[in-house]
Point group: D3
Chain length 63, copies 6
Amino acid sequence: MPIIEMKILEGRDQEVKDELIERVTQTVSETLQVSPESIRVLLYDIPLTHWGIAGKTVEKIRS
Amino acid sequence: MPIIEMKILEGRDQEVKDELIERVTQTVSETLQVSPESIRVLLYDIPLTHWGIAGKTVEKIRS
Amino acid sequence: MPIIEMKILEGRDQEVKDELIERVTQTVSETLQVSPESIRVLLYDIPLTHWGIAGKTVEKIRS
Amino acid sequence: MPIIEMKILEGRDQEVKDELIERVTQTVSETLQVSPESIRVLLYDIPLTHWGIAGKTVEKIRS
Amino acid sequence: MPIIEMKILEGRDQEVKDELIERVTQTVSETLQVSPESIRVLLYDIPLTHWGIAGKTVEKIRS
Amino acid sequence: MPIIEMKILEGRDQEVKDELIERVTQTVSETLQVSPESIRVLLYDIPLTHWGIAGKTVEKIRS
């Protein structure tokens, strides 16, 4: 039944996202002892311009 | 005052989304006995590549 | 597959919450033409002290 | 440590978003007396077609 | 119209939370040039046992 | 930088939650090749009465 939402910075390859969904689901399944079928994972790509740390966007921090 | 957020798979027509917002608002208004004006609904289209079930993206499941 | 999260003010009876979950699920199922089994609804009771409108908590507005 | 997520209507200039992230971070830092470095802000641009008020999308309300 | 959700660590006085809601609303109102009446703020107190940094709960980090 | 929010059904031991936070952080760190220090995990215990599947609360489904 667990619902997992992950906000990550945009720019990663879909292969990495596929692996992230697969491995996090497996980890949650093992730790909570629930079936993988009951687990939902939603991924959000957040633009560098929309993620702020210490008041600055990641885009500005990196430039 | 209710705030409702709905995550749905991308790909639906805007007409359907309009109807979804309208009908869910009406249902919540009737059930909670609050005015429709007080209700906010936010819709999120989630890409098939970002929604995982049982560790696989919906895109992979459907292909 | 839809995931619906509803933030409502605390203080409602569980019967009303049961009805809210049931009716919203039915509405979403009909509008999107997906099975009710694929729909998840999460309800959050927000304390009057933690919900702000126009900069004031609902608790202060009501008192 | 605070994590702040702000949903706003799409269409604003990045300069305004930069200022929003900067000023909200400063306000939270001062009010909670935590360092700005510990504060994360995520901004979401919500399309006018995906934000419902009183059962209608903002796009329809404005047209 | 902005909807702001803030997750903070549990344990703060309600007076501080009141001030947080008031000041963040004012900051958002000024920066986006929207009326305070259109702004919603939801606060969530997260238990020290439910907030993880670097894989450890804040409760463990602090003890 | 990733921010992970997990909604799980209430009733699990804190030891399991500790392990969940630790292992998910490790999995995300390895998969995305980011430092564990940059990862935040927030856990939410959702009451059986507030989690709906197919229009019914988990409490009703289990009883």
